[in-house]
Symmetry: C2
Subunit: 246 residues, 2 copies
Amino acid sequence: MLSKDDSGSEQPVIRRLGALRRLSEAGAAAIKDAVRERIVKAAAGEDLVCEGDRCENVRVFLSGWAYRYKTLEDGRRQIVSFILPGDTCDAYIYLLSAMDYSIATLTPVSYAELDRGAFERLMSADISVAEAVHCETLAERAIRCEWAINLGRRDALERVAHIICELFERLRVVGLVNGNSFAFPVTQMDLADAAGLSTVHLNRTLQELRSAGLITLRDRSLTILDLQALSSTAMFNPNYLHLHRG
Amino acid sequence: MLSKDDSGSEQPVIRRLGALRRLSEAGAAAIKDAVRERIVKAAAGEDLVCEGDRCENVRVFLSGWAYRYKTLEDGRRQIVSFILPGDTCDAYIYLLSAMDYSIATLTPVSYAELDRGAFERLMSADISVAEAVHCETLAERAIRCEWAINLGRRDALERVAHIICELFERLRVVGLVNGNSFAFPVTQMDLADAAGLSTVHLNRTLQELRSAGLITLRDRSLTILDLQALSSTAMFNPNYLHLHRG
DNA sequence: CGGCTGATTGATCCCGGTCAAATGAGGTGG
DNA sequence: CCACCTCATTTGACCGGGATCAATCAGCCG
């Protein structure tokens, strides 16, 4: 059941997993099939899952941006990671009894929903697929690890620069950048919650990045004016993304 | 090849995995066998792996404390997680080409080293084992997620209290607490690097916890005097540890 | 005894938080 | 077309948590 809009919508998944590990042709085909089965769409600004919900399906994101977050009782919120097209949202998650974080959308999104059966069928269909999925799990953990040092040890400017560098690399892999520009559907409030800063200070930090000639950010579009300089102020080292086939 | 000292050394692994998911008897036996094959020991204060090293073996920790960390070029360091007895250090890690973090020991440790063959044999030996290992991967990610909100959104007092609560729960599962006390082989420097604080401020924060009657910490031994109060100042909710069979 | 590592204390400074208000950009209903 | 509302961004003023610098103290080991 493939509508015209969806044709090719599985491309980001193939690109993402293929960057982590070489996919066999059979593997790529198995992914395409699995990901066409049950496609769900959601609007911007919606919660897809909430902390405490039962875990049932593995989600494979096809288009749009989302993020994982946690909140404290008193409302403080931390965005824990961004979810981009091609990302798989929690292999084997159905083994747990309750979600330990929430997912919200930043833009309209579409994703494939795989129940336990569908996911396990995909994992056993082809070794290269299983390996790529395991790699993605490891890569996603590595991202959270890098976020820990980001939040714990980088100052505001370095932190925001780092988040931008990471998003740029991840979007590049799935073909969502245009030169050094990309759509950036993140409000300053959201970005502040990802960087562990207040919105006020985040705003000032962005201005600092702008006036240093590192980025442009207008109308939800971000341009990196000097990637070299941005990377080095962030002390960004892309190895942790594991995007070059191990 | 089991020396007298090692008899029963696999217990923490069984307890840890068994807390995450019910293990069949065959599964428990398979774990015990796998974990006895090749046991490695290391002294306190050693690096077991460094960022950038090749990834070869999966490690299953049997005794002692270690931690994962990352450093920035200028020496700033962030401890990203503590590794306790029973923890598995990175299922499928051999699929990646280079480690994205380092591991160092806090005490003498012993761990089982599983090469790719041994690990895959274990995973296919018994479904309950494979599921438990996947659960552990998910639980470990959840821990990093919680650490993100810890570093990004909790203040110093809450942060340190949270780390203590988490360690207490994790040690309890593997039987390493004695009432509300446990061995705590972490220097203030290390704890500061886990909490994203300076050692000076960490020291003052510990004093605050002590003078509030929440903990005692002397001679590498920590006692929680008021678990209720400590949990609530930390806003600690143990669900993310997934220790109650899903 | 001297040297080393880790814990503690004091004094000072500054990054980033908080509070408050203004500006701007859509969006909607009259 | 305008009045009005909401949401996001921006700016200013002030404050405080935690960093930094520097010294002292306490064990421990050779």
